[in-house]
């Protein structure tokens, strides 16, 4: 589902990724661990196209969606609109001014999947951190993601919310989505991930 080979990236002469390899099967939950600056986030950002790699290859069998540490929802819009925006990539311009009924129905199913259908019309800024991160995951689902890349998805959350988000990601992997999560807590990785990849100095250790 996801195959990364020999990925290289440097920022201003500082080598961040030095030939990184990773392949993830559908339904697999991989945790990326490693010290700060070891290139974990850069791998994910290269996969979704937020950074351009200097070399190597990335193959994604389907849609890749991203979940961020800082969540990055539009706080002033309600949860449903935020989830709908996951569908923008497949909507033509003339249909993206207002979301049509079928997009809203699909978005409601995604919100229901993360357990927040009852908060659909609440502004995201009024939801708790854990709820916001689940809305962000629903947005990834509305993108019809085959691969979810989560960049420290629980670092900003309290322990209880972190467990909820990790369980949700694991359950989504159980439904066939390939999940790669950058984590800072080894115990969470051991509890939830199928496989742990340690990174050090831009390569898999």
């Amino acid at each position: 589902m996801l195959a990364i080979r020999g990925l290289r990236k440097s920022f201003g002469g500082r080598v961040v990724l030095d030939g990184f390899d990773l392949s993830v099967e559908p339904g697999e939950f991989v945790a990326l661990l490693g010290p700060n600056g070891s290139g974990k986030s850069t791998v994910l950002r290269c996969v979704v196209g937020l950074e351009t790699p200097d070399g190597g290859s990335i193959e994604v069998g389907g849609n890749a969606a991203m979940v961020f540490q800082k969540i990055h929802l539009v706080g002033r819009r309600n949860a449903l609109d935020n989830v709908c925006s996951g569908a923008l990539g497949r909507l033509p311009s003339h249909r993206s001014l207002f979301f049509s009924a079928d997009v809203r129905e699909e978005a409601m199913r995604c919100l229901d999947r993360v357990g927040l259908a009852d908060r659909a019309l609440d502004r995201c800024a009024r939801l708790s951190g854990g709820q916001q991160q689940r809305v962000a995951i629903a947005r990834a689902l509305c993108q019809r993601a085959d691969v979810i890349l989560a960049d420290e998805p629980v670092s900003a959350l309290d322990p209880q919310a972190a467990v909820q988000v990790m369980e949700l990601l694991k359950a989504l992997a159980g439904e066939g989505i390939a999940v790669v999560a950058v984590l800072h807590q080894p115990e969470l990785a051991q509890t939830y991930a199928h496989r742990i990849v340690e990174m050090r100095a831009g390569v898999a250790a």
Partner: protein, 267 residues
């Protein structure tokens, strides 16, 4: 806790301003001396001419309130000029701001072109626009509205583009990952985020434009500014004072109203 001895970390030396700063201060002073001379700035002349101002005030008091009805009517026209001048500039300001902001436009040439248009519109004063439009549509409020639309598009477009520039990058990145196009990101990430700022700036510009439309009246664009100009030309300073009191009222009302709404918006 023990204090570190000077050997381990010596106290940094006090740093005096560099010669560049001294030269800059000297140049600034010199420019002020030149400006003083060029503007014939002279407190003595003000004191010597004090009686002229006293005569003027004596003639203008008490105010002639018989023109109050006419004055209020004209004040409403002034308000309308400011209102339409602001409202009709919204679509142009929005389109140019979206093109000029790096949050919504990635093509450098489009950004530069939009910024050039905005800066041209901003640098031509509204009074100059009014004089130009008076030659096309004649004396009257319509010329004033057109002048404000042009000038305000330049100012508000720039303020809006800056508000968009400062918007959080995160939601934009998140939508980029979903495969959204530039216009889709502008519509679903940037605009919803900056809407309160845009509305606040709009109200601030309404406030400024109502005051500008007074000055436009002086060059023939109608409204209460026109009445003030007329009463000065006829040496009816008592009428002028009535008009000025009405202007004061108008400005305070608009200022308070826009301040109240801006506070509610939290912008």
């Amino acid at each position: 806790m023990t204090l570190t001895s000077p050997q381990e970390s010596s106290v940094p030396r006090r740093r005096w301003p560099s010669p560049v700063v001294w030269i800059a201060v000297a140049v600034l002073l010199a420019v002020h001396v030149l400006a003083w001379q060029a503007t014939e700035f002279s407190p003595a002349a003000l004191i010597a001419g004090w009686d002229g101002m006293a005569d003027f005030l004596a003639e203008s008091l008490p105010p002639d309130f018989s023109v109050l009805g006419k004055s209020l009517e004209a004040a409403v026209i002034t308000l309308y000029i400011g209102l339409l001048g602001t409202t009709f500039s919204i679509p142009f300001a929005l389109a140019l701001a979206l093109l000029a902001s790096r949050a919504t436009t990635s093509a450098a040439w489009a950004q530069q072109a939009a910024r050039a248009v905005l800066s041209f519109l901003r640098s031509v004063p509204d009074v100059v626009f009014a004089l130009i439009f008076v030659t096309a549509v004649g004396l009257g409020p319509f010329a004033g509205v057109l002048a404000l639309v042009f000038h305000n598009t330049g100012v508000m477009g720039k303020l809006w583009a800056e508000a968009m520039d400062e918007s959080d990058r995160g939601p934009r990145d998140a939508l980029k990952v979903t495969g959204a196009s530039g216009p889709q990101i502008a519509l679903h990430a940037v605009l919803p985020t900056v809407m309160p700022s845009l509305a606040g700036l709009l109200l601030y510009r309404l406030d400024v434009n109502v005051r500008s439309s007074l000055v436009l009246g002086l060059v023939g664009a109608g409204g209460i500014g026109f009445l003030i100009n007329q009463s000065i030309k006829l040496f009816r300073f008592d009428e002028m004072v009535t008009h000025i009191l009405v202007v004061l009222l108008l400005v305070v009302v608009v200022d308070q109203a826009s301040g109240f709404v801006r506070k509610r918006l939290g912008a």
